[in-house]
């Protein structure tokens, strides 16, 4: 690998400073504060705290419901990522092939990304509500079959679908850009060799998409761990009986709603470590299969 070396320059430092300052103020400082709180019992109204060492971590990790929360978070992250990326890829390929009306829905597909997570949750409430939503039609055929307050798997499905719907747009933009950057000459050459659209997609487009694919995988998984709060809050509130109590939602419920700042700080640290570990695994093992051109 070639390395580039730069001489230190004050101008460069000055140009970097604002950005570094922002990262410090909005990331490192709060993270350090959370790390400190995770080892203490913090009084919400100020007034001091007590050092308790690893007690908060021990409490959290010995709680069976916490592990339930980790489990459902992982399921949610994987399911939304797979669902969102496969939908986005399919849509992007359609748009790339310039099927009828592609210009209109190229714009339409990008929109959902601009919708805030709580709004997505609210919108899907109208879909999934067992009494008044679109899914309530199922209940007119089979009464009581669809009930988010009773069946954990239904509640998990609901948040996965809502979460994936929100993420499709983001992945779509990247997939489309990547597809459009594949030189026409390659596609045309393959076509002249007799490769039909499906074969061209499998042998030509997908391999060339791997860098984008990898980038989106990392972003989507991270996002579904950290950005799912709004959907859970409006759609299920963590229920039924904690079935959709995602890690990030539990942090909010314990920390802000229950004033247990320290317990929530410990959970944040664990979540951060988990996301870092997952990202590391992806870079270490998945990136090996990525071909950068």
């Amino acid at each position: 690998m070639r390395r580039a070396y730069f001489k230190f320059s004050w101008i460069a430092a000055a140009l970097l400073a604002p950005q570094l300052l922002i990262i410090f103020v909005f990331f490192y400082w709060p993270s350090a504060q959370a790390l400190y709180w995770a080892f203490t019992l913090e009084q919400p109204w100020g007034g001091g705290n007590t050092w308790v060492g690893f007690d908060n971590f021990r409490n959290v990790l010995s709680d069976p419901y916490y592990w339930g929360s980790v489990r459902v978070s992982v399921i949610y992250a994987l399911a939304t990522t797979v669902l969102a990326m496969s939908m986005a890829l399919t849509l992007a390929i359609f748009v790339d092939r310039q099927l009828a009306g592609y210009k209109a829905y190229r714009v339409a597909i990008i929109w959902p990304y601009a919708v805030a997570a709580p709004a997505v949750g609210l919108a899907f409430q109208f879909v999934f509500n067992p009494g008044a939503g679109i899914f309530s039609y199922i209940n007119t055929i089979a009464p009581g079959w669809w009930d988010l307050s009773k069946y954990p798997w239904q509640a998990v499905t609901a948040i996965v679908v809502a979460g994936a719907w929100k993420q499709v747009a983001y992945s779509f933009v990247f997939f489309l850009a990547a597809l459009q950057s594949i030189p026409r000459s390659l596609t045309e050459a393959a076509a002249m060799d007799g490769a039909r659209p499906l074969r061209r997609m499998v042998d030509l487009q997908l391999p060339l998409l791997t860098p984008t694919f990898f980038f989106l995988l990392v972003i989507n998984i991270t996002d579904s761990f950290t950005d799912s709060f709004g959907i859970v809050d409006t759609l299920t509130g963590g229920g039924p009986f904690r079935a959709t109590d995602l890690m990030v939602y539990k942090i909010y419920a314990d920390g802000f709603r229950g004033f247990d700042y320290s317990g929530a700080a410990a959970q944040s640290i664990i979540l951060m470590l988990l996301v870092m570990a997952l990202t590391f695994v992806q870079f270490r093992y998945v990136e090996k299969r990525v071909h950068y051109t």
Partner: protein
Amino acid sequence: MTQRLATAALVFAATAGSASAEKIKFEYWYGLTGDLGAVVAETCNRFNASQDQFEAVCVGQDGYEKAVQNTIAAFRAGKHPTLLQSFDAGTADLMLSGEFYPVTQLMADTGVTVDWTDYFPGIANYYSSKSGEFFSMPWNSSTPVYYFNKDQFAKAGITEAPVTWEGMAEAFKALKASGQACSLAYAPSSWIDLEQFSMAHNIPVASNNNGYDGLDTELLFNTTLHVQHMENIQRWITEGYALLRTQAAGKTSRDSFVEGECSVFFSSIADHNTIHKLTPAFGWDVQIIPTYEGVERHNTVVGGASLWVLAGKTEDEYKAAASYLAFLATKPEQQFLLENTGYIPVTKSTYEALLAEGFYAKAPYLNRDIAMKSLTYTEPTELTRGIRLGGMIQIRSEWQSEVEAALAGQKTMKEALDNAVSRGNDQLTRFAQTYAGKSFP
């Protein structure tokens, strides 16, 4: 500050006598939303219009929980309001932090006279220290009752709304026999099914007199009549007398009642006004929450929220806040709140004056004072003063999740309540550890 005073003095000198001095402003953060939030905002307008010395700047915070959360964040940054409307479950931390100005003290210091003995004991006890000093100012107060469909009751031959659970069970049977499919629209509520239920039966929710006497408290509700009661509710659901009606299940218990689907539902008296506005197509009324036979009925306690004065503000702001609080306690202002919401009067004199005027004898306020009967049923005992537990919000949510799991058939009710108690006790231990060496004032 001195600079501002100096400026004010200059301005005053310049306009000598012709114009009034600048108004003293104070900030008030409230949690009520929607129609109720509009009523709060209106009280501020009324206060500001009633005098020209002070100005209340009232900011809605989108719910009690958010109001407390935002205030804590603001407090830590030194930018908090003078007044905060907070719900009871959110105040244990505030009480122990001591970062508030007890209203008894505030009124004495600012020279505002308030007749504290005029407050109903059930309300006064709830918001005051062991020595009887008011921490916060009672304002929007309620207590639970049950609402029943008069037409459906009459059809089933029930002439009087039952006040015992045994009578309620009989009523359920009669309703079913008369062709009414659903008797009770049930939504689990720890406030009604656990807390107020325990008050009315004079049984403990937790040790240490429900937490008043120390922080080393343990929950006891898995050993009391509460267990049997929850098992009864579960049985009524399986036997088809009751239906689970929650937001997550697609329809709230109130909607179910208003549509005429179920004949009875339990809620705060604050819903009285809402149901009236929803104009159900049948006659309806309210009754005090039932107790079990063989148990002497006791008072229920107040719910809703109270107004807290926070530490670290200026003397002027405190004067303004005191004036606003005194304004809210007057009879016309209490009546304004009552007429626009379902809340109840907090002072005896106001209640008596309203009774004398026949306020509660006609619609839409008819029988709304059943709540007063429930609140004042007996003098509060050690166990019916209220509940003072740290981590109350989490204890409630543990109860809720466990009861929901039991109702969905995942575990027995007893297992669920045992689990809620043991998890709740972990919260209490953490709380005691956080405030080691302190106790509720």
